[in-house]
């Protein structure tokens, strides 16, 4: 469960990126965060991942008040959360397999069965035959799927994706989104910040619309534009 209680986030420019946001996202939920640029979508993602701290209000992730997390506790906290970015954030000098193995090493979970786990994650995203390729040898969609596989291999309880289809063509975008839906069906909470109106409209999932740092709409099964 993710809970935002009257969360305000200010970057010191006088304008609040988030201005009194209160939302609840139960386990296994699939949520789209929509809104124009600067509406506060990325800030919500960064606050969930503890990449940012709220200026006021409280955020609870799995019962943990992130505002009170010490610097040393953040790494363990982040291991509960998988993050997918618009720009993939893959290491260019490492193969697909090495990129995923990297995640296991970082969370200190690289062991005897790691090869199998990596293979499994690549199979889930349909890239098990590209394990020896380098990111530059892959299409944008494939790179994003590698990023998702890197996310999956550590078994996070929550996956947050910030504009995961932003750099992809419509087909690759749809594939990536379907992948996130499958991950959600397997029991993972998925939160997707997106501009992709067509996908949001097609999928008819929970939509939280932000505008000027405030929640304008929270619909159980809605489209990009409320109606």
């Amino acid at each position: 469960m993710i809970v935002f209680q009257e969360v305000v986030k200010s970057y010191g420019s006088g304008v609040n990126a988030l201005d009194g946001v209160s939302i609840q996202i139960p386990e296994r939920d699939f949520v789209f965060l929509v809104g124009s640029s600067g509406a506060g979508k990325t800030t919500v993602i960064r606050l969930i991942n503890c990449d940012q701290r709220p200026t006021s209000g409280a955020i609870f992730v799995d019962g943990i008040n992130t505002g009170r997390l010490g610097r040393k506790d953040i790494p363990m906290f982040r291991r509960k959360i998988g993050v997918v970015h618009q720009d993939f954030k893959l290491l260019a000098d490492r193969t697909v397999e090495e990129n995923i193995a990297f995640a296991l090493r970082v969370v200190d979970d690289y062991g005897l069965n790691s090869k199998e786990r990596i293979h499994e994650a690549l199979e889930t995203v349909g890239l098990d035959r590209r394990s020896n390729s380098y990111p530059e040898q892959l299409s944008g969609g494939e790179r994003q799927r590698v990023a998702v596989a890197r996310c999956l291999v550590t078994n996070p309880a929550i996956v947050v994706a910030d504009e995961p289809t932003g750099n992809l063509d419509p087909d690759s975008g749809r594939e990536t989104m379907n992948l996130l839906v499958r991950i959600n069906a397997a029991g993972t909470t998925v939160i997707v910040a997106t501009h992709n109106q067509a996908l949001v409209d097609t999928m008819q999932r929970r939509v939280i619309a932000l505008e000027n740092g405030q929640v304008m709409r929270d619909e159980r099964a809605g489209g990009y534009v409320g109606g």
Binding site: N49, R71, K72, R79, K89, L91, V106, D108, Y110, R150
Partner: protein, 298 residues
Amino acid sequence: MANLRTFPYVLKSAFGSIWRNLEGTTYAVLTTAVMLLMFGGFLVVNDTLDRMIDALGRRTNMVAYLTDNALPSDTAELVTVLQNDPNVGQVTFISRDDAAAKFRDTLDELAEILDVIENNPFPASIEVRMNDPEAILALADELRSRTDIVEEVLVRDDVVSRLLYISQLVRLAGGVLLISIGLVTIFVIQNTIRLAVFSRRDEIEIMKLIGATDWFVRGPFVIEGAIIGFLGSAIASAVLVTGFARVGPRIESVISFLPIQTGAAFVSNVSVFTMVVGVLLGAAGSYLSVRRHLASIE
């Protein structure tokens, strides 16, 4: 440096980073080598000076002349106090009769003077030989304050104080030099590692997002810095050992009074110490560099 399981990976990352930044690493290694060569050289100079002071100090006597009415019990007590002083090496009590006898022995032709004088004119005295020459002036002052039994204290103040002054000056200069060497070495390694951190900033960002601990991020850089320190100090040690083997005996033969140590044990001690310092400075430099970077991200 999370644990033993991740250590091979951390080590591999460190060597990979060195390989990627070979030019910067070479520059850092050579600068560290020059700095540590100065450090090792200073250790040799300092040791030589210490030995000089020690040798000269041991030859220095202090004599406390006692008053004629000093009680034997007070004198015995003072001798005991001096004997128990760890800075004092040897204490010899010379009675008035002993002094007169010594005069007769050493200045045979003047011995008749003593026969003319009715009373023995020589005072009793205590001769003190120091273990720690640096303590001689303080001890002399202490003895002078015992006016009840001490008439006068003779100490070769000029030689001792000049020697101590030079020693203090060299130590002070050495301290400043050592601190400067340490700071410059840390600065050079810090900058080299900063470049390595910059070239791997994306990797660090991903690490942190996935949930890497600060130690997991720091580990490879700290090891990289330690390796630079180790290589630099190894070069410095090699130059020191070779230099000693070739130049040491020549210096010894030309300036034989200088107690320069050229033994293998001493040279290897200096080398080992230099290498330990090199590794520590390298690790410290890179630790500071990564810490600064990590502080800027969360």
